[in-house]
């Protein structure tokens, strides 16, 4: 379900930016674009085991993330992540979503 546009770079854990756009239809309705997830930024801050496999399954397309899940404290919105004072909060739409307000009437 989760379609990732950026292919994995050859080698080890260098994933760079990953585009999360499996829910792009719903995103369009909400007036936001796909999420560009900076995996490398997170690599610099955390160990693999901090997120994998507890928070995110490593296999692409198996997580079925949605904003609702984030809001309920899963995935990006886990208790020590973007649902806590340690990271920017979930309402900062533009920090993750591209094309925000593109469809705004």
């Amino acid at each position: 379900m989760l379609v990732l546009a950026v292919p994995a770079l050859a080698g080890a854990a260098q994933y760079g930016n990953m585009t999360l756009d499996s829910k792009v239809e719903s995103m369009k309705k909400a007036g936001v674009g796909p999420v560009i997830y900076p995996h490398d930024k997170h690599e610099a801050l955390f160990k693999c085991a901090d997120c994998h496999p507890k928070v995110f399954k490593e296999k692409r397309g198996t997580n079925n993330m949605s904003m609702k899940m984030n809001m309920d404290g899963k995935f990006c919105g886990s208790a020590n992540c973007h649902n806590s004072p340690d990271a920017f909060p979930l309402y900062m739409c533009t920090n993750c979503h591209t094309n925000v307000g593109a469809k705004k009437k």
Binding site: E25, S26, K29, M71, P89, Y91, M92, C93, G101, K105
Partner: protein, 216 residues
């Protein structure tokens, strides 16, 4: 016999003289010792004895930067009327009131109203009629397919606010005619006019996004 009694009398006299002299000397010394500390304490009292900004009972004045500016008088003899005002409403006093807090440590004003903990006057004008809260929930569908819809409670908002505070400048009073977006709200439009400023912040998504969508 006579001589010995005279000698005794002489000894007693001498002894009493020594005692009397010693008393006067030691008394004056003791006075001198006592006089020194009584002269010093006022200077010591001027320095703040103990200022604990986290102690709601500590009598402190905060400057505009929120730092302790010094102590005033005592509770029995306040330095000024500002002392009384300061005792009534400052963050430290607020922390000591035991008002209910939400999970972000902010005062939960809605809970205060629901549990009748405070009863503010409707208006400063005694002649003004109090409008009862409007019991009307509005379902605001979230635009995406996944995020919970919002149930907007007029009741809690009209407890604090008049209709004119929000209508028609901020919200057109017709269902579906306000094209609200979360981005706009974050940037201070619609709900963001108050929430995140004087009302609870946007951090807790599910406090508003509370009505699950029918499963897709």
């Amino acid at each position: 016999m006579k001589a010995s009694s005279f000698r005794k009398l002489k000894a007693a006299l001498l002894c009493s003289l020594v005692v009397a002299f010693g008393y006067t000397v030691s008394g004056s010394v003791a006075e001198a010792v006592q006089a020194q500390p009584t002269a010093k304490p006022p200077a010591k009292k001027e320095a703040p004895a103990k200022i604990d900004p986290n102690d709601p009972a500590s009598l402190i004045y905060l400057d505009t930067a929120g730092k302790p500016a010094g102590v005033g008088g005592t509770a029995a003899a306040p330095a000024s009327q500002a002392f009384k005002a300061g005792m009534g409403w400052h963050p430290q006093a607020l922390a000591g009131t035991g008002l209910p807090k939400d999970r972000y440590g902010l005062v939960d004003w809605a809970k205060l109203v629901r549990e009748n903990i405070i009863k503010p006057k409707a208006s400063l004008d005694p002649d003004e009629e109090e409008m009862p809260p409007l019991k009307m929930d509005v379902l605001i569908p979230a635009k995406g397919d996944f995020v919970n819809d919002v149930i907007y409670p007029h009741e809690m908002h009209t407890y604090w606010l008049k209709c004119e505070v929000c209508h028609p400048q901020i919200f057109v009073p017709a269902k579906g005619s306000n094209n609200m977006t979360m981005v706009g709200i974050v940037q201070g439009e619609w709900c963001g006019r108050c929430h995140g400023k004087i009302a609870f912040p946007l951090t807790d998504c599910n406090r508003c996004h509370s009505s699950p969508k029918a499963k897709k």
